[in-house]
């Protein structure tokens, strides 16, 4: 069975690579390369997979899931400028792809029990753009 919990956070970012010229960054990232930054209301969907515990009837304690998302993602990222305040985005570009992978890496250690495992992270940057990540970058 799959269970999905949704959470939101608002943050600002700049997408640019320091070794490229402003013109090159503009070509790759468009308006997102504006050096002063800009913000989004990110929507995060965290999906766990597992069989319900016969005693509790739950795949995973949803309150615990909410707390993990809160502590590992929302508190450090909400109302922050990602490039300046949230490592590793001082060193890597905070694209939606990199942000989804970072969120996966932060969440993954909390769901290694036999019963429930992290199945997918979906991150909406806007209503019209989202990234799905299920681990294993290649």
């Amino acid at each position: 069975m799959l269970i999905t919990r949704r959470a939101e956070f608002s943050a600002s970012h700049v997408c640019s690579q320091p070794q490229l010229t402003p013109e090159q960054n503009r070509q790759i990232y468009g308006a997102a390369a504006n050096p002063s930054g800009h913000g989004h209301n990110y929507v995060l969907e965290v999906t766990l997979e597992g069989d319900p515990d016969p005693a509790t009837g739950m795949v995973f304690d949803l309150k615990k899931l909410k707390d993990v998302i809160q502590q590992t993602v929302i508190e450090p990222m909400d109302h922050r400028f990602l490039n300046h305040e949230v490592p590793p985005f001082d060193k890597i570009v905070p694209t939606t792809e990199n942000l989804a992978a970072e969120i996966w890496n932060r969440l993954q250690p909390h769901f290694d029990s036999a019963r429930a495992r992290l199945r997918n992270v979906r991150l909406y940057e806007t209503e019209d753009l989202y990234v799905d990540y299920a681990g294993n970058p290649s």
């Binding site: 997408c15 690579q17 790759i28 468009g30 890597i92 570009v93 905070p94 694209t95 939606t96 792809e97 990199n98 989804a100 992978a101 209503e127 019209d128 753009l129 989202y130 990234v131 799905d132 990540y133 299920a134 294993n136 970058p137 290649s138």
Partner: protein
């Protein structure tokens, strides 16, 4: 491997009517959608590209290139059009959502290598929402 999904919109009208059936059969088969004057929808198109994360750019797909491809190959011809009359493909094909998906898939696949000449990203899924209650999905 990561999947990136981008949502687009177009407004178009269509009429479901197949030359292979009689007037009566068409009415029974397609119901209101067979109305001779046609009718319209605000279609929502979702295009999913899949591939490895490029470490330099932090991207799976260059969104601006995807936008250009979808805009030139789909939105320009579909948006604010009467599909039956304005698109060549639907001179012979009933513009059901299923057939619209096949036409969009063919157009995107044909021109995909011009926008994305490498092995990645590849076109993974196309979803078309005709109304809030009708969602069609195609995996090429």
């Amino acid at each position: 491997m990561m999947r990136v999904t981008r949502r687009y919109r177009f407004a178009a009208s269509h009429r479901l009517h197949s030359a292979q059936f009689s007037e009566q059969e068409n009415r029974e088969l397609y119901g209101k959608c067979n109305n001779p004057y046609g009718h319209g929808h605000d279609y929502v198109l979702e295009v999913t590209a899949a591939g490895p994360l490029d470490p330099a750019s932090g991207q799976v797909v260059h969104i601006l290139d995807l936008d250009r491809l979808v805009s030139e190959q789909v939105l320009r011809d579909f948006d604010h059009k009467y599909l039956n009359a304005d698109l060549n493909e639907f001179q012979t094909l009933v513009p059901t959502s299923e057939n619209i998906m096949r036409v969009i898939e063919r157009r995107l696949q044909t021109h995909w290598p011009e926008s994305f000449p490498g092995k990645w990203p590849r076109l993974e899924t196309i979803r078309l929402r005709e109304t809030k209650r009708n969602l069609f999905e195609l995996r090429p």
